[in-house]
């Protein structure tokens, strides 16, 4: 196996036994990036020099025999929406094309302290708004399984990098499905933690009550390791929860015998691709053979999840993105200007792409006087009902399974002309963000054209352990069916 093909847990053994060095692994990954990034556009910025310095530092710690965690010396890719001190952080936007943060986000600081190596910042839909990574100022990322197809979004670059072995693991963010859906389209594992588990300090905000940072990895074991490393209370994030971080890897071997798995009937209605449904049904059969108990559950307000999300998220975004005005940082339009107001309007018009402008407009409209009650407040009330649906359903089951997305990866350009069609690809993922619940996507098959299909497992708040336990059992059972992309 080439070093770049390894997992976090596989490499950790080799690094600790000094069978390989972090520098060798990092070089292996960087060489592969140099060879393939032009084709797949996973990375916006490659930090080769600093990565090698970090790798050498990790090797020093390893050769001294210091006790190190599993992430020491491991090359990671970071979605370009997390602040990295001294490294350009663009959020996939012209607005921040030359912005260099003066501080690290908490997640980055934690990973640095753990000895991780950062190989680069990955491509994404602009300001995390999108489901395909086509809304990036830097162009789309291409799906390693079929290069004329999207990687999903908004964490498309991270999912692409993991699928194509351009990193050992990656960090993404998920506001309406932006980790899970690209993981599904790219045949990798992706998890969104419970809201409040992972600090958002340093995460460029899209929708503050929905955003979460999470791992994108080659397998469930790696997911549990990376999740454990980034979780934890942070006083610098006022929405961070003071609760102990479970030792997630300990849950993996518990199995699913006797576990009650809910299947939400509303997730199996029209719009679901036949091959995707078939793969999910097969997965359900596999769980039954492993001794899980299936429970039919209902989430009656599922059909309202998309309108609720696409009212709340843009409303929050319109507030969060008000800061981009060309005054203190970021893009500023070229003058001369009659006054500040004109400079600000021109800066925002030129700095933001079409989808971002659309969502700002939508959010501003929903919050404006005369419309606030009918749209924004109404959406928040229905959000309460969606949360209640889950609370009731989870009284009868421990986890739920569902498709991650209604289809496999669509073609680049296929949905850009129809924003509404694009929004509908989030139908199975947004509810977890609205309710603040954890969810994972694991590969569960491929369609006739070889495109990956994702199985989603949702859990109770702060119960990532059971979600990982369920995911691991499934992965363990179906591992021989996993196919790496041919990179034709």
């Amino acid at each position: 196996m080439n070093l770049y093909e390894e997992t976090i847990h596989g490499l950790h053994q080799r690094l600790v036994r000094r069978e390989a060095s972090s520098e060798e692994v990092t070089k292996s990954v960087l060489d592969r990036i140099a060879e393939l990034n032009g084709r797949f556009n996973a990375f916006i910025t490659v930090t080769g020099q600093s990565a090698l310095e970090q790798a050498r530092e990790a090797d020093r710690r390893l050769s001294k025999g210091d006790p190190v965690g599993p992430l020491c010396g491991i090359p990671l890719a970071i979605k370009d929406v997390l602040s990295t001190r001294g490294v350009r952080t663009t959020c996939g936007s012209r607005m921040l094309a030359d912005y260099v943060p003066i501080y690290d986000s908490t997640v980055i600081r934690k990973l640095r302290d753990a000895g991780a190596v950062f190989v680069g910042k990955t491509n994404m839909d602009e300001f995390a708004m999108g489901s395909s990574t086509e809304n990036s100022f830097l162009g789309p990322s291409r799906n390693p399984y079929h290069p004329e197809r999207v990687c999903g979004g908004s964490s498309g670059g991270s999912a692409c990098a993991v699928a194509a072995d351009l990193c050992i693991a990656a960090i993404g963010t998920d506001t309406g499905g932006s980790i899970r859906q690209p993981a599904s389209y790219c045949g990798v594992v992706g998890m969104k933690p419970t809201y409040g588990r992972v600090s958002r300090f340093g995460l460029v905000a899209y929708a503050s009550s929905l955003d979460q940072i999470g791992p994108i990895t080659k397998d469930v074991t790696d997911c549990s390791l990376l999740l454990r490393a980034i979780c934890g209370y942070d006083s610098q994030d006022s929405t961070s929860v003071e609760t102990a971080v479970p030792d997630f890897p300990r849950f993996l071997n518990e199995g699913v015998k006797g576990l009650r798995i809910g299947v939400p009937r509303e997730y199996f209605v029209g719009g679901l691709d036949a091959e995707v449904e078939q793969a999910i049904r097969k997965a359900i059969d596999a769980f039954e053979r492993m001794g899980a108990v299936f429970v039919d559950v209902s989430l009656p307000h599922t059909e309202y999840a998309i309108p609720v999300y696409y009212l709340i998220a843009p409303a929050e975004a319109s507030s969060n993105l008000a800061r981009y005005d060309g005054v203190k940082y970021g893009y500023r339009a070229k003058g001369p200007f009659r006054n500040l107001a004109e400079m600000v309007r021109r800066t925002r018009s030129e700095g933001f792409g079409a989808e971002v402008k659309r969502r700002i407009m939508l959010g501003t409209y929903a919050l404006s006087s005369g419309y606030y009650d009918a749209y924004y407040r109404k959406a928040q009330q229905v959000r309460t009902l969606i949360r209640e649906d889950f609370r009731v359903a989870f009284q009868r089951c421990d986890v739920m399974v569902a498709p991650t997305a209604p289809t496999t990866a669509f073609r680049i350009g296929e949905k850009v002309g129809d924003p509404l069609q694009m929004y509908l690809s989030d139908i199975f993922t947004v509810s977890a963000n609205l309710a603040g619940l954890p969810g994972i996507s694991v590969p569960c098959g491929y369609n006739r054209e070889g495109l990956p299909i994702g199985l989603q497992i949702l859990g109770k708040a702060f119960d990532e352990g059971t979600v990982l336990q369920t995911a691991f059992a499934f992965e363990h059972q179906t591992w021989p069916d996993r196919k790496k992309p041919l990179l034709a």
């Binding site: 912005y99 006054n339 004109e342 925002r348 959406a379």
Partner: protein, 95 residues
């Protein structure tokens, strides 16, 4: 709910965004289509339902009002498009 051109212009003004005539037409059409989808929310009974602004049972997080280290002015000014001394320079604000 049809969003006409006047409303698009009003919203653009609130959002401090300048739109071209083509963009005004496009957004009018697209926003109308998107909002039509949202009109379905009307059919959901929500009379006694409290809105969720936040999924967690937490309230405002405060810290002690003590001096702590902050960033250096030079660092903060490093990303500025136009600087004058320790100030951010902008076009005039008042006529």
């Amino acid at each position: 709910m049809k969003v006409d051109k006047k409303e698009v212009e009003h919203v653009a003004m609130l959002a401090r965004i300048e739109l071209s005539p083509e963009e005004k037409d496009l957004y009018s059409e697209q926003l109308s289509a998107i909002l039509a989808l949202f009109d379905r929310l009307r059919e959901v009974p929500t009379d006694e339902i409290l809105p969720t602004s936040h999924v967690l049972e937490i309230s405002n997080a405060f810290r002690e009002d003590e001096l702590r280290p902050s960033s250096m002015p030079q660092e903060i000014l490093g990303n500025a498009p136009d600087v004058s001394g320790q100030f951010f320079r902008v076009p005039k604000i008042l006529e």
